[in-house]
């Protein structure tokens, strides 16, 4: 027996050494540190209302002025921060911090803040916070996701020049009123989205002495306890979950749900945990229940399953330098059996459109009739274009979105059926982007973000963008893009963008394959609240859940 004891000692010794040797840099306190150190009160108040939302990618940052447009990060950030406006799922604006936004000439916008707006520590929110945030975020040394190049006094990339600290386009009138002046008149929609919705604020009373160069690594952004939103930060257990508690000091109705957990889990477990009730809802677009699991989630009796309106489509992007003849691109459009993809792969939970703008978007051109499935016509077009059948097309496919990968496989089969040779290459996203930038692709597929402001859907078609995915040159398209960006009358803008969509439909530099109606899976315990394509949390203070 002694020998076995000795053996056990040796093994224990190995483990001990392993733990000790794991580099001097790491502190040995970590196992204990993983225990939530948050409020102890939670354990004895079972009546607390809690919702757990599942997402599949971990939030990378909680920095409200540099969200990196990362959808996973935006989930906690939008619960922690209110902006002047929020947006509904039909792209309408609703006021939050703003009492009113007025403009007479579409160049000067006058904003009145809600008089009772205050940070979650009770400090009033004033125009001093607005000025502080803008001056800091627009400092050339600071990273920000704000896109405010339209404001007077900022340079082309939307920053202050070196050594200037004042924004000429920002005019503070009093503690609750300020004006923003644009370089030229702009559509209020642009102002509302870029300034009203996308600009979050920093608490001047907390960060006033910070060095701009060191801002991004400041402790505040790891634990942003003072924010202005319906929820306040409790903890972020890296790789596990973000815990938020309701803001008792909220300037609107105090939320009914006491705590919200945003739980990070792999896609494969999302459905399982909805079934076990460990999470109460999925999230869009970072907690997608694969549509291939539709029948399965439908069969669970503890959840409601609904479909959101059709969202941003997965699109083919053609390298138009390698495929300059539009007949070839049209042939590809005719060759795709999209009804099969929608009905078989996506169980009917998708729409067929051709352009990048989803059908629920106000600027979607309803008059365009999508290309139908017509392989004969496709072959005929290839003949007319004098297609060289010995040529091989390189099709780059990003891995990660299973449904999109499967759809791409069907696309490849369809293209082979009309006689095209396809070389399929699958890569992780950074690799794919690198190859696309070098122009190694003939075709690639990915999904763009949702934009309220329609001009953002078209920047990729501009010819002054030599490294763009499609490398597209078309004088009329350039002209219409410019007109669309400068037009400030909504009706006229609609006309311009309708025409632009028609031209692009005929030219096919990009082609949507399917526009998915994402599944919204919500526990039956939840009385109010569900994931939406955009603006999920715009009324989160009204959300409610049955307590067990």
């Amino acid at each position: 027996m002694r020998k076995l004891v000795r053996l056990q000692q040796i093994i224990l010794f190995i483990i001990l050494l392993l733990v000790l040797s794991a580099c001097s840099k790491t502190e040995p306190t970590n196992v204990a540190a993983v225990n939530p150190t948050s409020n102890d009160i939670t354990s004895n108040t079972s009546a607390k209302k809690t919702i757990t939302i599942g997402i599949v990618n971990a939030p990378v940052t909680l920095n409200q002025i540099n969200t990196q447009d990362n959808s996973a990060s935006l989930t906690p950030i939008s619960l922690l921060n209110d902006s002047l406006l929020d947006v509904t799922d039909t792209a309408q604006f609703i006021p939050k911090l703003a009492e009113s936004i007025e403009t007479k000439d579409k160049q000067t916008y006058k904003i009145k803040l809600k008089p009772n707006a205050k940070w979650n520590d009770g400090t009033p929110f004033t125009t001093a916070d607005v000025a502080f945030t803008l001056k800091l975020a627009l400092n050339p040394k600071v990273d920000t996701s704000f896109k405010l190049a339209f404001i007077e006094g900022l340079n082309e990339i939307g920053k202050l020049d070196e050594k200037t600290t004042d924004i000429t386009g920002l005019h503070i009138i009093d503690a609750s009123t300020f004006e923003i002046r644009a370089k030229t008149p702009i559509d209020p929609l642009v102002f509302n989205e870029r300034f009203g919705v996308k600009v979050n604020y920093l608490p001047a009373h907390i960060l006033k002495n910070v060095n701009p160069e060191k801002l991004s690594t400041h402790e505040y952004f790891q634990k942003p306890t003072v924010t202005i939103g319906p929820y306040r930060f409790t903890s972020y257990q890296k790789g596990q979950y973000v815990e938020l508690a309701k803001n008792e000091n909220y300037y609107l109705d105090v939320p009914k749900i006491d705590r919200i957990f945003i739980k990070v889990l792999p896609a494969a477990n999302l459905v399982a945990q909805l079934q076990t009730g460990e999470i109460q809802m999925n999230s869009l677009p970072v907690g997608l229940v694969p549509i291939t699991e539709y029948d399965k989630v439908k069969s669970f009796d503890n959840v409601h399953v609904t479909s959101a309106p059709a969202s941003e489509p997965a699109e083919l992007f053609f390298n138009t330098e390698k495929l300059p003849d539009k007949r070839v691109r049209q042939a590809i459009a005719y060759a795709l059996n999209r009804p099969l993809i929608v009905n078989q792969l996506l169980k009917g939970q998708a729409e067929i459109i051709d352009g990048g703008i989803p059908s629920s978007h106000p600027y979607f051109n309803k008059k365009i009739k999508p290309y139908d499935y017509n392989p004969e016509k496709a072959k005929q077009l290839l003949q007319e274009a004098g297609w060289d059948y010995k040529r091989t097309l390189t099709f780059l496919i990003p891995v990660g979105n299973k449904v999109r990968e499967q759809a791409a496989d069907i696309v490849v089969q369809n293209l082979e059926q009309i006689g095209l040779n396809i070389d399929v290459q699958k890569f992780d996203f950074p690799t794919l982007i690198d190859k696309v930038e070098k122009g190694e692709h003939d075709v690639t597929i990915f999904t763009r973000d949702y934009y309220i402001e329609p001009s953002l859907y078209f920047t990729t078609y501009r010819s002054n963008d030599p490294d763009s995915v499609i490398r597209y040159h078309h004088p009329l398209v350039d002209e219409l893009i410019l007109k669309g960006e400068q037009e400030i009358d909504e009706q006229k803008r609609h006309v311009i963008y309708d025409q632009l969509q028609e031209v692009l439909h005929d030219e096919v530099p990009t082609l949507a394959v399917y526009s998915e109606k994402r599944l919204q899976v919500v526990s039956k315990q939840v009385l109010t609240g569900k994931p939406l394509n955009i603006g999920t949390f715009n009324q989160v203070n009204q959300w409610d859940i049955v307590t067990k």
Binding site: K3, A22, T61, T459
Partner: protein, 317 residues
């Protein structure tokens, strides 16, 4: 003698360590894509991306970037993540604990399963029990851990509802060792089974070899009970080669736990590695490489020393 041996091995580790950092740095930078181009959003002006590259020092020649990073390291700074802007040493610090906990538990579990099974199967060589046990061991190595993991989640977590399907603590719970242990069972079992499956065959083979030695026959002839013969004379000798094999398992365990950590949402460095890799977060990746290098180098060293302790025949050269 021993001390000099350890000292020399430590000295050798130093250039190896720097070699590893140079190679990791080169390979990482050779991988296509970079952290800034990830922001392919066509609405970000090109100039903005250039400014960001400049700020991150990505436009410097590679050797300048390496020297900058190395001088940081010598000052004890691993830098800041390109995506979360958190300090790398802090990020790794938060994650290393859970990984070591999972890895060490699985290793102990694996060894504790493998030794008795291997020994019994050697003693009962070619009996039905032997076939059953080696069959099970074969199954343990053949089933990919990710599959076994998903199977466990489905059966134990969902159908039976006995154990949580993932994570390390209950959401918003008060935590505590009991809570962590409950979450630890499934991932540790999956990794443990994979380790045990591989080790059983080694233990069995090693035990069989020893069992045929003459000194065992002598021992038995002296009238020592079979149990003592097996424990005192056979097992100890049979386990010597096993120790080194267990040692080689440790670096593999760190690699293997990347997948298991994903499946069970275990908040360890495996998960962090995947995130950093997919966003080409160079400082975090380098930090993780250093940790991995330290672990591999130190386990190799410890294994060699242990080997010297249990087998006095070894020459220190």
């Amino acid at each position: 003698m021993m001390r000099r041996y350890i000292f020399r091995r430590l000295l050798i580790s130093i250039p190896v360590f720097f070699g590893i950092t140079i190679f990791s740095f080169l390979i990482m930078n050779m991988a296509p894509g970079n952290p800034v181009d990830m922001l392919i959003n066509p609405n970000i002006p090109k100039e903005m991306l250039e400014i960001r590259k400049e700020m991150l020092g990505l436009n410097d020649p590679l050797y300048v970037q390496y020297v900058k990073w190395l001088s940081g390291l010598l000052k004890g700074e691993l830098g800041y993540s390109y995506s979360s802007f958190a300090s790398v040493s802090q990020m790794i610090g938060e994650r290393i604990g859970p990984t070591l906990l999972l890895a060490s538990t699985s290793l102990v579990l694996g060894v504790l399963l493998a030794i008795p099974i291997g020994v019994i199967s050697a003693i009962k060589q070619n009996a039905t029990l032997d076939y059953v046990l080696t069959g099970l061991a074969f199954l343990g190595t053949s089933i990919p851990p990710f599959f076994l993991g998903l199977g466990f989640i489905y059966i134990v977590g969902i159908q039976l509802g006995w154990l949580p399907t993932g994570g390390m603590t209950t959401l918003g719970g008060t935590g505590g060792i009991g809570d962590i242990l409950v979450h630890l069972i499934l991932p540790a079992l999956v990794l443990g089974i994979a380790i045990a499956g591989k080790k059983v065959r080694y233990v069995r083979a090693s035990m069989l070899e020893v069992l045929q030695q003459d000194y065992l026959r002598t021992a038995r002839a002296k009238g020592i009970s079979e149990l003592v013969v097996l424990h005192k004379h056979a097992l100890r000798n049979a386990l010597i080669p096993i120790i080194t094999i267990v040692g080689t398992e440790i670096p593999l365990l760190l690699g293997g736990s990347i997948i298991i950590e994903q499946i069970f949402q275990w908040p360890g460095i495996g998960q962090l590695t995947m995130e950093a890799l997919l966003s080409r977060d160079y400082p975090t990746l380098m930090g993780l490489n250093i940790v991995a290098a330290c672990i591999v180098l130190s386990t190799n060293l410890v294994m060699d020393i242990l080997y010297a302790i249990v087998d006095p025949r070894m020459k220190y050269s």
